[in-house]
């Protein structure tokens, strides 16, 4: 795929630079000429939208860090200071807080697109795994960021989640103390989470670079899942996809701006406007919405399995739920990528999406019937989908006939 360079240095300076550090050639190859399947639909624009989200979070975050004070006595008021007294602070702070939610909206859509169109299948396994790594890093970053305003949910969310570490046999308590910098969430925790919250986005950016590199080796998957055969199947990335992605970004900014300007607090929890108080436990501790599906899986294991107690069991289930994603390229061995051509897969996939939304809903509910039973059922389906349904479907399903090329599928659609 690297044989598509049409770059000819325009003048002596460009020629000089090209012989020493061919950045212009690189940019022309990868940001402009890169051959991209011409049939990508709008679900494919979320990659570019995610790059924008990361950029927005980094830029607003750097500005917030100029005014924020990571100290248990001052943190809460310093966030209010940003909202009240810093020029433009209320917009920057709201953009950062809402931006976290919008980031996850885009992230989940991007992942579910990959799961439907089989974008994790050979030769894109590494691309997919890097994506899962980005997801895990983003989750960690968002979790630590939520601690920083030092409200009641910040504090108690951190307390509940950090207890996960203590479930690990033998070394659990030591790990928990290392993470928190003490026996409980306190000033050292706030300081190290602030430091890591500033560090991780740059690590994410580096993994994003690898993710895009891994994308540019095999090239994009596409909605019919047939590999690119020749140049008639593709268009240059620029201007065709730069334009389409930019349009999608602007559309994505509309709900983003809606929340920032008209409902900046609706995605949060009122309790986080109460300063953290280790002596008062909120009636109902809930993590942010984007962590809820995994929180439900954590809580669903409320029974002991042989020598594994329920707490460790929950942690194993939650970790397993994330690890399932890493091995999905080897669980789904069907040769056909796109769900469109898989008559049985389609339905199980639809149920998986609904199940994931249900897991999210259940995470916000109290630990009482019928929620606890539903949580177990939904958790079971989550694992069944990856560990049983995908491998079995790959063997028993007869896919619909695939078009021979992207061009053929496009023409078929045009004349249908």
């Amino acid at each position: 795929m690297s044989e598509h360079s049409t770059y000819v240095p325009g003048n002596a300076v460009e020629k000089w630079l090209d012989d020493r550090l061919p950045v212009v050639r690189f940019a022309k190859e990868h940001l402009m000429d890169f051959p991209t399947p011409k049939n990508l639909n709008y679900w494919w624009t979320f990659g570019a939208i995610l790059v924008m989200c990361l950029g927005v979070q980094i830029v607003t975050g750097i500005i917030l860090a100029m005014h924020y004070t990571p100290n248990v006595a001052l943190a809460f008021d310093s966030v209010e200071h940003i909202r009240r007294n810093v020029s433009g602070g209320r917009v920057i702070q709201a953009t950062h807080a809402v931006g976290a939610s919008m980031f996850f909206v885009a992230l989940y859509i991007h992942m579910f697109r990959g799961l439907f169109y089989g974008s994790y299948k050979a030769p894109r396994e590494i691309l997919w795994i890097l994506g899962v790594v980005i997801f895990l890093l983003t989750t960690a970053t968002a979790f630590m960021g939520y601690i920083l305003p030092w409200g009641q949910m910040s504090f108690w969310g951190a307390t509940v989640i950090s207890n996960i570490f203590s479930a690990i046999p033998l070394v659990g308590d030591s790990i928990k103390q290392l993470v928190l910098g003490g026996f409980a969430v306190g000033n050292p925790t706030l300081n190290r989470f602030f430091s890591l919250h500033y560090l991780l986005p740059f690590i994410i950016a580096a993994v994003v670079a690898l993710h895009i590199w891994a994308l540019h080796v095999p090239g994009n998957n596409n909605p019919v899942g047939v590999e690119v055969k020749d140049s008639r199947d593709t268009v240059p990335f620029h201007p065709y996809y730069t334009m389409k992605d930019l349009f999608a970004m602007v559309v994505f900014m509309i709900p983003f701006a809606w929340f920032v300007f008209f409902a900046p607090d609706i995605l949060g929890h009122p309790d986080n406007y109460i300063m953290a108080n280790p002596q008062v436990t909120p009636a109902h501790i809930v993590p942010e919405w984007y962590l809820l599906p995994f929180y439900t899986i954590l809580r669903a294991i409320d029974f002991n399995i042989l020598f594994i107690d329920s707490k460790l069991g929950g942690v194993i289930a939650m970790g397993g739920a994330m690890l399932c994603l890493l091995i999905v390229p080897w669980l789904d061995t069907s040769k056909v990528r796109a769900g469109t051509f898989r008559p049985m897969f389609k339905w199980f996939y639809a149920l998986f999406v609904i199940n994931f939304i249900a897991l999210m809903y259940l995470g916000a509910q109290e630990a009482a019937e019928p929620y606890t039973t539903l949580a177990k059922v939904c958790t079971a389906y989550y694992f069944l989908y990856f560990l049983v349904i995908l491998p079995v479907l790959s063997r028993i399903e007869t896919p619909k006939p695939l078009p021979t090329s992207i061009s053929e599928s496009v023409l078929g659609k045009a004349h249908a």
Partner: protein
């Protein structure tokens, strides 16, 4: 994909129908009020904020602090909009601690924050039967109303953000002199027991609140407007006004935030339209 969305919506609806019995502990249903600042077009009513400030100053502030409120905020645009002279005179009536002043105290200036009624949280507890009167600075956003299923979905589209003032208004009107007949029974079936020094409130979680009924008809004397109109001196009026003032205190830039929002959204929608036209023109020669 449409099928998926419909199916997902149906499932969520199904899930949320099942349990309705959990609300008993959380308190009675809070009625939504018609706030001038509600909805996307809402702005603060300056006169209401001035009245609310009067209630806060004459009643609430004897126990509740507001440490993020600066005197100067009271003259800022989109707030109660007192004149600078009024704010200077008001500030001068208060003393604040200042380690660099003679005797450690001096008269306040507009740049100072609202002085707290108690020197420490412990002093506040000691003076209030063990209960800590919460600081008012962001209290209106620290309280909310938990809506049942279909309602909260609509909240995202109506931008309903007034759960806090709704709750505060309900709380101030929710007192009973005696424990009412319909008070919830304990888990062992015993009748509701109100601890000594507590008061029964329909809306407070657990119903036993440390604060006695702070407002009642006629406790605050509102000034007559220049054109001779008056507002009623009732609990209902006071509680509405002070809840509105507390919302302003928690969200002082609400008006300019929404104004900016309109400019941003109108720009984005138009820009998206232009981008779409450009994209279509560009792709018109490509079969895809």
């Amino acid at each position: 994909m449409h099928k998926l969305i419909i199916a997902a919506a149906a499932l969520v609806a199904g899930l949320s129908m099942a349990p309705a019995a959990q609300a008993a502990e959380a308190g009675a249903h809070v009625e939504r009020q018609a706030w001038s600042f509600g909805g996307i077009f809402g702005t603060y009513d300056t006169n209401q904020l001035q009245r609310g400030f009067q209630v806060f100053r004459e009643v609430c502030s004897s126990c509740h602090g507001a440490h993020l409120l600066a005197f100067r905020n009271l003259m800022e645009e989109g707030g109660p909009e007192f004149s600078e002279a009024q704010v200077r005179a008001l500030a001068a009536e208060y003393e604040v601690a200042d380690a660099t002043a003679d005797g450690g105290r001096r008269a306040a200036v507009p740049a100072d924050r609202w002085p707290s009624p108690f020197a420490s949280d412990q002093d506040a507890r000691d003076a209030n039967g063990g209960s800590l009167p919460p600081d008012f600075s962001v209290l209106a956003k620290a309280r909310g109303v938990k809506d049942p299923f279909p309602t909260w979905v609509f909240n995202y589209f109506t931008a309903y953000q007034e759960g806090g003032p709704d709750y505060i208004h309900a709380l101030l009107n929710g007192y009973h002199d005696e424990v009412p007949e319909d008070a919830p029974h304990g888990s062992d079936g015993a009748p509701f027991q109100l601890p000594d020094g507590k008061h029964y409130n329909d809306y407070f979680p657990g119903h036993a609140i440390g604060m006695g009924p702070p407002l009642s008809d006629g406790v605050v004397e509102y000034a007559e407007a220049e054109n001779g109109t008056t507002v009623p001196h009732t609990l209902e009026q006071y509680s509405t006004d002070v809840a509105a003032f507390m919302m302003w205190m928690a969200e002082p830039h609400l008006v300019s935030r929404k104004q900016t929002g309109f400019a941003v959204l109108i720009f984005l929608v138009l820009f998206a339209g232009l981008m779409y036209g450009t994209k279509r023109k560009l792709w018109s020669g490509i079969e895809h």
